[in-house]
């Protein structure tokens, strides 16, 4: 792990007039980490990235990079490289000139620049396109050019703002894998903004989940997936999303659509809850919650069933074998540790 690129956000607030784009955001990124800022659009993740880059100033709070307060440092003095969603390539310059621009600005000697440009271009496999203009490149090649321009300088922080969103589905998956390899081989701290939970899950070492200007959870993808700490995150992470149904908690059990499920909660007493069960955690079983199959979505290796359980819609993912037919009545169960309980008023995990 490199020792550079440690980030700390302390109590960052960003106001746009009366609207709070960020409400008291604090988090830390460790050196060498691939850190994702995940959230729906308008949740504040891009604002956070722009504040980190120095393109926007926070209304209050401090930003630290490598222990130094950079809150009022200019973007160009922060030693940060960024890949923009639109790539922001300079259209009047060739690929080589685009990649060399940051080095020129750093007054690097000409000979070193040309070697560094070739090296960066080779890493993202566009070394055969150096004489082209951005307008003559495909979308994927433009994206690589933007990546090369960002990595050529060996900045201490590498910011990516939805870099894959303009690529088609197949290219996106390929580039995603390459991006991860690239970040590992460069051993650089990367901060990655995305609204695509799958991208965050596959790429990130850790992630911060944004909702309405606040960070609701920070953790590894596995942690956030296994223990979402609010209804919103539970519904946002995972595809198809977690089933979230109103239910009644009673002395360690939870009653969903009239059926009792065991939970890992020990508390006695009764209360209303929202129960969350991932579609993949539900099993078709000889006995359990009885349900009618409304719709079967066949995805090839798995199928997603829309079930009607006494008026409540529940989705189940089953493997290829034994897919029930539409109109069938089946029973489903879930293990106690797979049932998440949330407070219906605060939305927080119980």
């Amino acid at each position: 792990m490199s020792g550079r690129g440690q980030v700390q956000f302390r109590d960052i607030v960003k106001m746009h007039g009366d609207f709070a784009a960020l409400k008291d955001v604090s988090f830390e990124i460790k050196p060498g980490e691939f850190f994702a800022l995940l959230g729906p659009s308008g949740s504040g993740k891009s604002t956070t990235l722009r504040i980190l880059a120095g393109l926007d100033a926070p209304t209050s709070g401090r930003v630290f990079i490598d222990g130094k307060d950079v809150t009022s440092t200019d973007a160009r003095d922060r030693d940060i490289a960024m890949v923009f969603q639109s790539y922001a390539l300079y259209p009047h310059m060739t690929v080589a000139e685009n990649i060399s621009f940051p080095l020129e600005m750093a007054n690097m000697p000409k000979a070193e620049i040309s070697a560094a440009v070739k090296d960066a271009a080779r890493k993202v496999r566009i070394d055969h396109l150096l004489d082209r203009k951005p307008g003559q490149l495909s979308g994927g090649q433009q994206q690589r050019c933007a990546l090369a321009r960002a990595i050529v300088r060996k900045a201490r922080l590498f910011l990516l703002d939805e870099p894959l969103s303009n690529l088609d589905a197949k290219l996106r998956l390929e580039t995603r894998a390459e991006l991860k390899k690239l970040q590992r081989s460069l051993d650089v701290t990367a901060v990655y903004v995305t609204h695509d939970q799958e991208e965050a899950m596959t790429l990130a070492d850790r992630m911060a989940v944004f909702m309405a200007g606040e960070i609701q959870q920070v953790g590894t993808p596995a942690e956030v997936f296994a223990r979402p700490n609010s209804i919103e995150i539970a519904g946002f992470i995972g595809n198809p999303p977690m089933n979230l149904v109103p239910a009644r908690y009673s002395n360690g059990d939870v009653i969903i659509a009239g059926h009792r499920f065991k939970t890992i909660m020990q508390a006695s007493g009764e209360r209303d809850v929202v129960a969350g069960i991932r579609p993949g955690a539900l099993r078709v079983a000889p006995s359990g919650l009885s349900a009618r199959v409304e719709l079967v979505e066949d995805l090839g290796d798995t199928a997603v069933l829309d079930l009607d359980c006494a008026g409540t819609l529940i989705r189940v993912r089953v493997s290829d074998e034994n897919v029930p037919r539409e109109g069938d009545t089946i029973s489903i169960t879930a293990r106690a540790q797979d049932i998440h309980l949330f407070d219906p008023t605060t939305g927080k995990r119980l």
Binding site: A53, L55, D74, R76, I80, A81, S86, A88, P91
Partner: protein
């Protein structure tokens, strides 16, 4: 003949009519400039005559040579163009990019100056120039031309600057460029088409201007448009010489037009297609 070919043919025919209408005065001037004064006055007009360079020789090397006037026009036009562009580029960039109080008003003011009929302000301009002692000076004429060319140039350039995505600048800042360097290395190269168009328009307006020049200049400063008027007098008009001067005065304009043609066509269609104004 298919319908498509017929349509192309019709379009060509219509274009030809327009082209002739436009070209006629130019051709007529060229023809007249090659005649003797007597031939030029002949009625019905002579289409077949012995061409002579006499008129050109006279207006260039005769007693009333217009060479100093061509130089005068060049000094005024180049001066106006250079000063205009030096001021208009940063101003247009600021109007396109920066948020400041009264930006809307500033934009309107820039356009409003274009709405005044020039003849209405010629007396005030005369008085101002006389008070500061700049009547019949290059700086005086250039100053007056600036008051028209600058708002026009700013207004024309703003749309080009606005076409450039803000992210492009932010990328440059993150790449370590200062604001000035970003303007010079990233922004200006991308608006060079717009700059070319603006240079042509500003130069042409200054080159062809007559009204202010005839009132506010005179002996020391005497652009070719004013000098040309010498050949028109109460007693007679020296048609051949007038035509020769016209052709000579047209030359720089034609050369500039040919050089900048590609950019002008692009400039006139700016905004027609997304991103059409750039690159």
């Amino acid at each position: 003949m298919t319908g498509k070919r017929l349509r192309v043919f019709a379009l060509l025919a219509i274009s030809l009519v327009f082209l002739l209408a436009w070209a006629f005065p130019v051709l007529w001037s060229v023809l007249n400039s090659l005649k003797t004064d007597r031939d030029a006055l002949a009625y019905p007009p002579k289409l077949i005559f012995t061409p002579t360079w006499e008129a050109y020789h006279d207006v260039l090397f005769g007693s009333a040579s217009i060479l100093p006037n061509l130089v005068s026009s060049m000094v005024i036009s180049v001066g106006t163009t250079v000063v205009t562009m030096l001021m208009a580029i940063p101003a247009a960039y600021a109007l396109a990019r920066l948020r400041f109080r009264g930006k809307k008003f500033a934009g309107f003011y820039v356009l409003a100056t274009q709405m005044l009929p020039p003849v209405g302000i010629i007396i005030p301009y005369f008085l101002v120039l006389r008070n500061i002692g700049w009547i019949d000076t290059y700086q005086g004429i250039i100053l007056i031309y600036l008051s028209f060319s600058l708002p026009f140039a700013i207004w024309l350039l703003v749309s080009y600057f606005e076409d450039i995505p803000f992210e492009m600048e932010e990328a440059a800042y993150l790449d370590g460029a200062s604001r000035l360097r970003t303007l010079w290395r990233i922004i200006i190269p991308q608006v060079r088409g717009g700059i070319a168009v603006t240079v042509v328009f500003v130069f042409l307006n200054a080159w062809n201007e007559f009204l202010f020049a005839v009132v506010l200049s005179g002996n020391t400063v005497r652009p070719v448009t004013v000098a040309m008027f010498n050949f028109v007098s109460v007693e007679q008009t020296l048609w051949a010489k007038l035509a020769a001067v016209s052709v000579l005065a047209m030359l720089p304009v034609v050369v500039l037009g040919v050089v900048a043609q590609k950019h002008i066509v692009k400039g006139l269609t700016v905004g027609a297609v997304k991103g059409g104004g750039r690159r």
